[in-house]
């Protein structure tokens, strides 16, 4: 068996363990926290509808299949069984909507924005980073340093707010409320696609501003480190063209740690999405999460949270597998 496959296999096992533990966490968080969510709900119901507590519990059981007397282990196994079969439960607010449907509706929007933003900042950021390392003291340096300060020091929601005020409200260049214009017909048609792109511009720009500077600066520093390596000066001495050295020596090697960083960046977008999507009123996972939190829709919360965790795990896994394939030095230990 090749060493690379062993490394990847190890990663997959770790991912599965993490996945299981996240399920435990998300389950325990909702059910076993002090001031139990269900308890609170029952009290609320009893009070508002003026019914005895016991009856409130009965209604809860009927509505959400929640049974307070069920031992935790049994309840967890039921939950686990549901999750394994792809059933994340039903929204507490709207009995007709399953959490799966919510995710199915929200995910494309989040992914649409996240993938484009990640792609732009990864490609441009790395390109700029290598350039800055190779051609020292160019005009890019202060610009990218400024951008990286912004991404470190300015919270994503501030960036989002500024973009909304400037580009949408004052200049009127981009729309910001929603994911597409109500004038177009959703579906596979060009107007819809263009409108979606139009509405996605500002959210994407927000994420790019958050990611680009950091990406460029970290690429710059790894590139500088690579350029100090002997093989780069040796390549110069061998009379290789500058473009070849930059492409096959500096970029090819400096990009390796950036690939693992991709998962981190994706996590950053996911984390920021609750705020950014809410501000843009963009119907992605983040906005639904915020809404569910606001309305205390616990089953939807649980489902969305678990789904985000799965996304993170998968992103990490992909980054690690990609790394194992890109770096021939991955040989024995991962």
């Amino acid at each position: 068996m090749s060493a690379r496959i062993r490394v990847i296999g190890k990663r997959i096992i770790v991912a599965i363990i993490t996945l299981f533990l996240s399920m435990v966490v998300s389950f325990v968080m909702m059910r076993e926290t002090p001031g139990n969510v269900w308890q609170g709900l029952a009290y609320q119901m009893a009070q508002s509808q003026n019914i005895p507590l016991v009856m409130a519990y009965q209604r809860l059981t009927a509505m959400y299949h929640y049974n307070p007397n069920q031992p935790m282990i049994t309840a967890f196994l039921t939950y686990l069984n549901g999750v394994i079969h792809g059933n994340l439960g039903v929204s507490m607010l709207n009995q007709n909507v399953s959490v799966n449907q919510v995710i199915a509706a929200a995910l494309p929007w989040t992914l649409f924005v996240a993938v484009i933003a990640l792609g732009i900042s990864f490609i441009i950021g790395n390109w700029l980073g290598v350039r800055m390392a190779w051609k020292r003291n160019s005009f890019l340096d202060p610009l990218m340093t400024g951008l990286s300060v912004i991404s470190h020091a300015v919270p994503s929601f501030v960036i989002a707010l500024v973009l909304i005020v400037v580009f949408s409200l004052r200049l009127g260049w981009f729309p910001y409320n929603g994911a597409f214009s109500f004038l177009v017909q959703p579906g596979f048609n060009l107007p819809f696609f263009l409108s979606a792109l139009d509405y996605a511009c500002l959210p994407i720009l927000t994420y790019v501003l958050v990611l680009l500077g950091t990406q460029a600066m970290s690429m710059k520093s790894t590139s500088l480190a690579v350029m100090n390596e002997d093989y780069v000066s040796a390549a110069q001495a061998r009379g290789l063209r500058e473009s070849v050295i930059v492409k096959r020596y500096v970029k090819r090697i400096a990009i390796l740690p950036q690939v693992t960083g991709l998962a981190l960046s994706f996590g950053g977008i996911l984390g920021a999405s609750a705020l950014v999507e809410t501000l843009f009123n963009y119907p992605g996972i983040g906005q639904f999460l915020t809404n569910a939190t606001n309305t205390r829709d616990y089953s939807e919360l649980q489902g969305l949270f678990l789904f985000q965790a799965v996304c993170m795990i998968v992103a990490n896994l992909i980054a690690n597998v990609l790394y194992a394939y890109l770096d021939p030095r991955v040989k024995t230990e991962g």
Binding site: T18, G35, P155, I164, L275, T293, N294, L301, A309
Partner: protein
């Protein structure tokens, strides 16, 4: 040269760190002694609502005609104390767990690493949101604790990595060979080498906690407190049409400015402080 003098010399020669230091000190002072000079009054004066900056109200007024500057100053106390507690708790937890994992090693390390990796994969802002909603925290300590639930993990990972690499250094081996105990090695040989890392991370954690706490407040998930910067933003955006109403823009801008200046100061200060701890960079 005494430590204090050396600190100020280093800061003086590093202009970015100096700006950062001044900003951070400015906000800390605002939080500590500001409330002595500014008194928040609940009196409502709708005739003066959402005024632009003037001599009487340097930052303008809020939706109820109250002085925005006063709200920012009073609010800084809450924002900064949440940040302080969050940074303190997550750093302490990170240091203890990181040192346990790195210094003891073996099974302890393996178990702790599984936990750390798990926490690292949890989408932390979402978790913070949910916890804030479930627990309805009110005190700064509780809020800080809530924000630390995941924030300790990267710190622990960093501390562990530092300890692991330091542990293999020859000078640690020599100290062991001289029969100097674990306590000596930890306090005299290891800690001086990670103080710089810890300080930088304390500042960065505080900055991160401010961003997260204001973000949560912005979504309106923590009990109402009209002076909190995040709550101010929430009101500005959701209730006063701060986005669409031109006169609301000053009210919205004030907390944004305060927040950004503080995090910006933290960033500059944290980046420059390494010079102070590194003996190679000491000016003789």
């Amino acid at each position: 040269m005494s430590v204090v003098v050396r600190f100020f010399t280093t800061i003086y020669y590093n202009k970015k760190a100096l700006i950062g230091f001044i900003l951070v000190v400015f906000f800390v002072l605002m939080a500590l002694i500001g409330p002595l000079f500014f008194h928040f009054s609940t009196a409502i004066d709708y005739s003066a609502r959402l005024d632009p900056p003037s001599f009487a109200h340097p930052l303008g007024t809020d939706f109820a005609g109250r002085d925005t500057l006063t709200e920012i100053v009073i609010g800084s106390q809450q924002v900064l104390s949440v940040a302080f507690w969050a940074a303190l708790i997550s750093l302490s937890a990170g240091v203890v767990i990181g040192i346990l994992a790195g210094f003891i090693g073996g099974v302890v390390d393996e178990i702790l690493m599984i936990i750390i990796n798990l926490v690292l994969t949890i989408p932390s802002f979402s978790l913070n949101l949910i916890l804030a909603a479930i627990f309805s925290v009110t005190s700064p300590v509780a809020f800080g604790l809530l924000l630390s639930v995941t924030a300790w993990a990267p710190l622990a990972l960093g501390v562990r990595a530092q300890i692991l690499s330091l542990r293999e250094r020859d000078y640690i081996t020599v100290a062991r060979l001289m029969g100097l105990g674990k306590g000596y090695i930890l306090t005299r040989e290891l800690l001086p080498n990670i103080v710089s890392y810890l300080t930088i991370n304390f500042i960065q954690s505080a900055s991160g906690a401010v961003q997260a706490s204001v973000g949560i407040m912005l979504l309106g998930l923590v009990p109402y407190s009209v002076t909190n910067w995040g709550q101010m933003l929430n009101i500005a955006i959701n209730q006063n049409g701060g986005l669409s109403n031109p006169s609301g823009v000053y009210y919205m801008l004030s907390p944004i400015l305060a927040l950004t200046l503080f995090t910006f100061g933290c960033f500059l200060f944290a980046n420059g402080i390494d010079d102070f701890f590194n003996p190679r960079l000491r000016t003789s």
